[in-house]
């Protein structure tokens, strides 16, 4: 495909167009991903998650600048919510990354969730693959930031930064379940604000409670808006990357994530088959009546369905 060749030579328009295609069209997406597979899997993927307003975009901006100093090429995917009512969205993360727009070694793409839950959009993974093939060394994904449901990022990123801010108060307690497990590095942003020390202490205490971790995540205090603490943070990210490589965890994690991806793809297709073949509404209505009349049992209905789709 001509677009792919152009993208491989560093053409940003081609790269952008390919991302649009994987976002909009499943068939095109599959063709593209098949063709670029051989060029991908070289980048390190960093996920940045945390509540809305925590400073994820501001932090991304600063972190990217530190990578540019190391002569890295950085791709950014910034995700914001799609309105369930209109299907539209306002994607505003670029506001905090204005200085990066013109850097030849940076590519920023904003995406709406388009109805996908879990903090990412359905096409995020494929967009990552395209940026990877396009030669970006580091790919940063900024998640939506709606809290509890931000679990998908661990299935896509190698290193996850969990961004917290002072003043969340009881929230830290309430989000700890599930959330404490997904951070590889905890960032307390807005350290210029009152209560940041306390927030860091609380996170540290919570992390210490969890004894069965293979690696105890560090807690780093930063003030993204003033570019303070960013060196320390990028140092911690480097150490995590090193840890992943040396411990064999990187391969292990990626294998696990690939398994999940494959199973999810199969599930999607199976669900389609179920919807079209086995459980069209009229058919299902009939079966429901049979069950209500005690002519059949729900398990009988299931077994009959499985037989019709050839299990």
């Amino acid at each position: 495909m001509e677009l792919i060749n152009k993208m491989l030579t560093g053409d940003k328009r081609a790269c952008a167009r390919l991302i649009t295609q994987v976002e909009n069209d499943q068939t095109q997406a599959e063709n593209i991903i098949r063709e670029i597979q051989q060029y991908a899997n070289n980048a390190h993927v960093i996920g940045i998650t945390g509540p809305p307003g925590a400073g994820k975009s501001t932090l991304t901006d600063k972190l990217v600048k530190s990578y540019l100093k190391d002569n890295k090429k950085v791709g950014i995917i910034a995700i914001d919510p799609t309105s369930p009512y209109s299907g539209g969205s306002i994607l505003g993360d670029r506001i905090r990354m204005q200085d990066l727009a013109l850097d030849p070694n940076v590519f920023i793409r904003s995406m709406g969730t388009r109805g996908y839950l879990g903090g990412l959009s359905k096409s995020t993974k494929n967009a990552v693959k395209i940026l990877d093939a396009a030669g970006y060394d580091i790919i940063i994904i900024e998640t939506v930031g709606v809290g509890q449901s931000e679990v998908d990022i661990v299935k896509t990123a190698d290193t996850v930064l969990m961004v917290m801010v002072p003043g969340l108060g009881d929230d830290i307690q309430s989000i700890k379940a599930g959330i404490m497990e997904i951070g590889d590095i905890f960032v307390v942003n807005k350290s210029d604000l009152f209560g940041a020390d306390r927030t860091a202490t609380e996170i540290n205490m919570m992390l210490d409670l969890n004894q069965n971790m293979e690696r105890r995540p560090p807690v780093v205090m930063v003030t993204a808006s003033k570019n303070e603490g960013i060196d320390k943070l990028s140092q911690e990210v480097k150490q995590h990357i090193q840890y992943l490589h040396e411990s064999g965890k990187l391969e292990e994690q990626r294998k696990k994530n690939l398994k999940i991806e494959i199973v999810e793809l199969i599930e999607t297709e199976l669900r389609k088959i179920i919807m079209t073949h086995a459980s069209s509404d009229s058919k299902l209505d009939k079966e429901v009546n049979a069950v209500l009349n005690k002519e059949k049992n729900v398990y009988d209905v299931r077994d009959e369905f499985l037989e019709t789709i050839g299990k």
Binding site: K12, R13, C15, A16, R17, I19, T20, E23, N24, D25, Q26, T82, S83, Y85, S86, G87, G88, S89, I90, L91, G92, R94, I95, Q98, A101, L102, F107, I108, R109, S110, G112, R114
Partner: protein
């Protein structure tokens, strides 16, 4: 899969009036579009870079400061230089009627001045997409 219209809403130059731009951004979102809002004080180069990377269908610019005759055509020119010719380029803000023909000649598809309803703009965008 649905294919939402992607629109870049940008504020070129030093103009700090952003009420109109934000209003348009919300209206287009409510009409089902994906709006990339880049914030204030954008150079034409930044706007073009964002338009390319975001692969938008529409570039919409807002100026109330009076610098439209310089900034709007500059963006059109830079987009052309990048080979971007399938994007609908529109503008809005406080723009005297007598400036509008010149801007259209420079490559802006349409100019929306105060008093235009967002419904009119949404209709215009939907009917004039270039791809």
């Amino acid at each position: 899969m649905e294919k939402p219209i992607r629109v870049l809403i940008a504020k070129p130059g030093l103009d700090g009036h952003d009420r109109g731009a934000k209003l348009i951004a919300r209206a287009l979102r409510d009409a089902g579009m994906e709006v990339i809002y880049t914030g204030l004080r954008q150079t034409p180069e930044q706007i073009v870079a964002a338009a390319v990377q975001e692969d938008v269908d529409v570039v919409g610019m807002s100026i109330l400061s009076g610098a439209h005759n310089h900034l709007f055509p500059k963006v059109v020119e830079l987009l052309k230089e990048q080979g971007v010719n399938d994007v609908l380029i529109i503008g809005g803000g406080v723009i005297p009627d007598e400036d509008i023909p010149g801007l259209k000649e420079a490559g802006l598809a349409e100019i929306f001045t105060p008093g235009t309803t967002t419904t009119q703009m949404i209709e215009y965008i939907k009917n004039n997409l270039k791809r």
